[in-house]
């Protein structure tokens, strides 16, 4: 029987994954943030790359991030199947086999690191390899299921892309690259904990020790305020370096005032008040945190774009 005729009369065929199912393994929404921050890191660097090299650098940084996402989906398939938000992912929904996710993750890790090294430099490739290792092994395999500080330390994986973009252009790490890293690193905990407050996922059943579960929601609210306050000097400090300028400083002051005010409002509330308005404040602060990070990096980019006209920078 030919292949074309094989399905005749067969109604219950096994699922054949399409190209989109494999793309979903790479967490495209996370990749979009990686592309943006890495692009800013690369464009604000004082050394400019050839456009083809720059394009390749961003592509392979994004591919490396996608590879770590695929490895995360392979490892976390058991807990993804328990939580509602992640049940539809390719592995727990059965569209892609766990082994395929592992193979895609390992294969893309190798390709992205080698190609970034060839396109730019070995330090950038080394940092990308470390980022993949950090997200897949340190965060996914170790911290995520063992400590309520998982988000704090695991946030480093998401903070590396602008630093890698900078290193791809300059070949070295500087205070500007470190502060861009620190900005995302310190931003991640309040951003994620604000989400955890209103996304009542069954972390306990999944065996994930989220701060909201292990220490309670009041402690989580306090943590959000403390980390938001710690974020302020990092954001202001970044605005005072060579990638900043008057515009970035003004944006940083306004955004941090808004973020601290939001965190303060979250801290003042308890579960009864939050439940009454369906976590309206927590949802507002979470949305604002997304805008916060986007506008900070957009300000760095605007500063670099204005420099040739004698307007940007200090």
């Amino acid at each position: 029987m030919s292949d074309l005729g094989a399905y005749q009369g067969v109604t219950d065929t096994p699922y054949e994954p399409g190209f989109g199912d494999y793309v979903q393994l790479l967490k495209p929404r996370v990749m979009s943030l990686v592309v943006f921050t890495a692009l800013v890191g690369l464009l604000v660097a004082p050394v400019s790359l050839h456009p083809v090299e720059g394009f390749a650098a961003i592509l392979f940084i994004a591919l490396g991030a996608g590879a770590s996402g695929s490895l995360n989906m392979w490892w976390d398939a058991d807990i993804d199947a328990v939580m509602k938000r992640t049940q539809g992912r390719p592995v727990p929904s059965g569209r892609v086999q766990a082994g395929e996710a592992l193979a895609v993750g390992l294969g893309l890790s190798g390709i992205s690191v080698v190609m970034l090294g060839l396109a730019t430099n070995l330090l950038a490739a080394g940092l990308l390899a470390f980022t993949i290792f950090f997200y897949a092994v340190v965060y996914s395999m170790w911290l995520k299921r063992s400590t309520p500080q998982n988000i704090v330390i695991g946030g480093a994986a998401g903070a590396f892309p602008p630093m890698i973009g900078w290193v791809a252009a300059t070949g070295s790490v500087s205070v500007e690259a470190f502060l861009m890293f620190a900005l995302i690193f310190m931003w991640t905990p309040p951003h994620f904990w604000a989400l955890a407050l209103f996304m009542k996922e069954d972390y306990h059943a999944a065996g994930v020790p989220m701060l909201t579960v292990t220490h309670g929601r009041k402690v989580t609210r306090t943590h959000i305020l403390v980390y938001t306050l710690l974020l302020v000097p990092v954001a202001i400090g970044a605005a005072l370096t060579s990638i900043g300028g008057p515009l970035t400083l003004a944006v940083a002051v306004a955004l941090n005032a808004g973020f601290v005010y939001g965190a303060w409002r979250i801290w003042l509330r308890d579960e009864a008040v939050a439940g009454a308005d369906k976590y309206a404040t927590e949802k507002q602060v979470f949305s604002f945190s997304l805008l916060y990070l986007f506008l900070h990096f957009a300000a760095f980019l605007a500063e670099a774009a204005l420099k040739p006209y004698g307007l940007g920078g200090w």
Partner: protein, 63 residues
């Protein structure tokens, strides 16, 4: 002779093959472009035209 419409399974398999093919093609183009940029450092390439080129002569250092 008539062809039966493709099964959903075949459509997904075709999308996967097409996607992979396009990705591999784009990868080849990118590696070629990177090679050209790396070899020429962004400058236009210059072929040997069998004529004397003073710029290609080594600099004569006076003793």
């Amino acid at each position: 002779m008539t062809f039966r419409p493709a099964h959903e399974l075949h459509k997904r398999r075709f999308s996967r093959n097409l996607g992979l093919g396009l990705v591999l093609g784009a990868f080849v183009v990118l590696v070629f472009a990177l090679t050209v940029v790396k070899v020429t450092r962004g400058d236009p390439m210059k072929a040997f035209d069998h004529k004397l080129d003073p710029q290609a002569e080594p600099v004569k250092v006076q003793p």
